[in-house]
Amino acid sequence: MEVFVLKLLDRFSGMFRRAGIDYRALRTIVRIKLTMDGRKPNGVLEAIGKSKKPSADKPEKSPFAVNWLYVLMSLAMIPFLFLNDILAGMSFVFTLLMFFQGTAMISDFSSVMLDTRDRPILRTKPVDGRTLGMAKTVHIIVYLFLLTASLVTLPLVAAFIFKGAAAGLVFLLEIMLVTGLDISLTAAVYYAVLRLWDGERLKDMINYIQIVLAIGLMIGYQIMIRMFDFSTLGAGFEPGGWWLLAPPVWFGAPFRLLQGGGGIAYAFAACALLLPLLSMLLYVRMLPQFEQQVQKLTQGGGAGKRRSAFRPLELIGDLLIRSPRERAFYRFACAMMGKEREFKLKVYPSVGFSMVVPFIFMASQLKEGLDSLSAVWGLMLYGTGLAIPTLLTLLSFSSRHKAAWIYSTSPMGESGAVHRGAVLASLIKLFLPVFAVAAVVFLLLFGKAFVPDLIAVFLSLLLFTVVCYLILPRKLPFSEPFPAGSSSQNGLQVFLLLVILTAFGGIHFGIRAAGWPYSVWIFSAVLIGLNYVAWKYGFRGSSDVKAASAD
């Protein structure tokens, strides 16, 4: 596959040369980057040299593996090709596509775009900024195309077969255009941020922008999907001028033109062709300047700020935890989660999104008016629990994972304390605030009668956390490198946990439905007992550090 990519690249060598790019260097860099992506970074133990002799070829799951989850999702796109109104249908398909590409750009490829390690290694050799920038871009495009391929191959084939060759070709062309647009838009946002800020402040701003973009994409996606009210789709969808602000609609328009439509669709189709081309042209022009700005990320900032004396989070930890060692890990985890930018980038969007999940579930019901909302809908609050498996999975990652040698060299004893301290910290620091916001909204919606249910939901989610810990692979916190490329992991376990989470909701629902007096209160009391046992003994399994990090 690597060879195939390079062969394909060779076809464009003339184009690169004409753009003033050192194609030989570009090819060498891209080749070595692809090789590195296929390698699994060494874990802590291997880095200290305790493990078996490492060899160069230790392939991870190939970066070119088909993402079956995306293939599955692409099946859901196919029906939209057959909507009566093809403009609306294709706009919907491109909404999905832009959402997935955008999310991947921000969470997985930002590190490629903003990599500062390339600079001391490559720029000290006779490689100019434009070539390095282009090499990075090609590297990103290869992956973005692969991701996109998982997502669009089936719909594309369907388009060719059922909608004709013309529609298929237009679809293919647009996929390329939208990929270019996504890359250059992301680069434009970064360029603006890089121009505006300096030093440490710059790194924080990039982090915030990424989080905001990720959440924005999720919300934008939800809005777009709801915009197309399916009941009216059959009747034909007439976009007004303000729909020009929604790029997916541009890409839907050419299909209507193919079917002989006209009018405003011409304007949209023009946008679909011209704006991506323009943005790509600008992107290539600005590459050297972009590379120049990226170097600002290596500059250190001024003096750090000392934290204020009042630290409510630590007080909570001190109240709940007696062992001084566990307290130490609780505080350490709190500090790491607050400071590690890559961690924040991966965690915040998904945790923030979990706050919205219950309301998405209720959306159709909410449309009917608040009065139609029976108290049972309150159990949708369980939806916030979706964040917990993600949180615990990400807890084991760090961009400085090699520093985890400290676990093995300090007199630590049982690793259960490390795990419990860190899990508790992630729950209190990241999950609790989000849950609290959702809970307040639910209290406003459902009134005082919801209080016992709220308590039971909270206790269930606490118990669910321990279940997650037991089912997910146990790794020491912050001891593994972030996986390159797609960040989806532990798919099977997460699926199992979703079933368990639903079961929690189901039990709660059953107990409410049974209608015994005080049933929910009794449920809560039982949950308190179970929580006590689970939190006390659930973390004892892993006896020492080596066993825990050996897998």
Binding site: A47, A56, R117, R123, T124
Partner: protein, 265 residues
Amino acid sequence: MAKELGEAVIRLQDVRMNYGNKFVLKGIDLEVYPGQIIGYIGPNGAGKSTTVKLMLGLETGYGGTIEVLGHNLADGSAAYKGRIGYVPETAEIYDTLSAREYLTFCGELYGLKPEDAEYKGAKLMRLFGMEEVYDSRIDSYSKGMRQKVMLVASLLHNPDLLFLDEPLSGLDANSVMIVKEILAQLAAEGKTIFYSSHIMDVVEKISSRIVLLHEGYIAADGSFAELKAQGAEGSLEQIFNDLTGFTEHAGIAARFVQAVQEDYR
């Protein structure tokens, strides 16, 4: 300063650099000739690595003129870097690769054919006693082994000018002797070595010329003998302390040890 034959390899004229309000270099004038081993020393934050980064084109936005290998850096071309070797202080390296892959890659970027780069890399690594780990991943290497890879990577393309930042860090005593001898012989072949380090004994022994940077200015420039003749006494370490105005090391050490031994239990 001894006048050497040939054109200056490096020529800095009134080079100034600042990050925001922080002035790092306040006017550096320096000419370096072929065959010199420059020991570039100075306290932390004196601007040593900034100087080197400027000459490598890693940083821009300086004032004054920088010429490296007869090429004025202001014109922005990267071709002159083909004759430079660089060992950075922070050993940034693509460490999921094996030494064979990394060295071949570096050689290719300098325009070598892959098979030539691979052959030469293997030959040089063997001389460092590393043939057995040539195909192991660099992230399994010890610090000294990494340093050897960095050294080989910087020399593969037979450069005329070497920038070395703490090149001996992590090496064992035997390897240190080899590398010191390599540097001396390379200089004798007419190559120029620009060497920055904090280890004064080494700088004293291997440098043909010592340049001391202090607070953005060149505070001293000359051979070790010349520095001593200027009235400074004792070892280079003492000269360094004198010129940077630092005399309290004994007092600070005493208070430090005292603090270590305080018992809070």
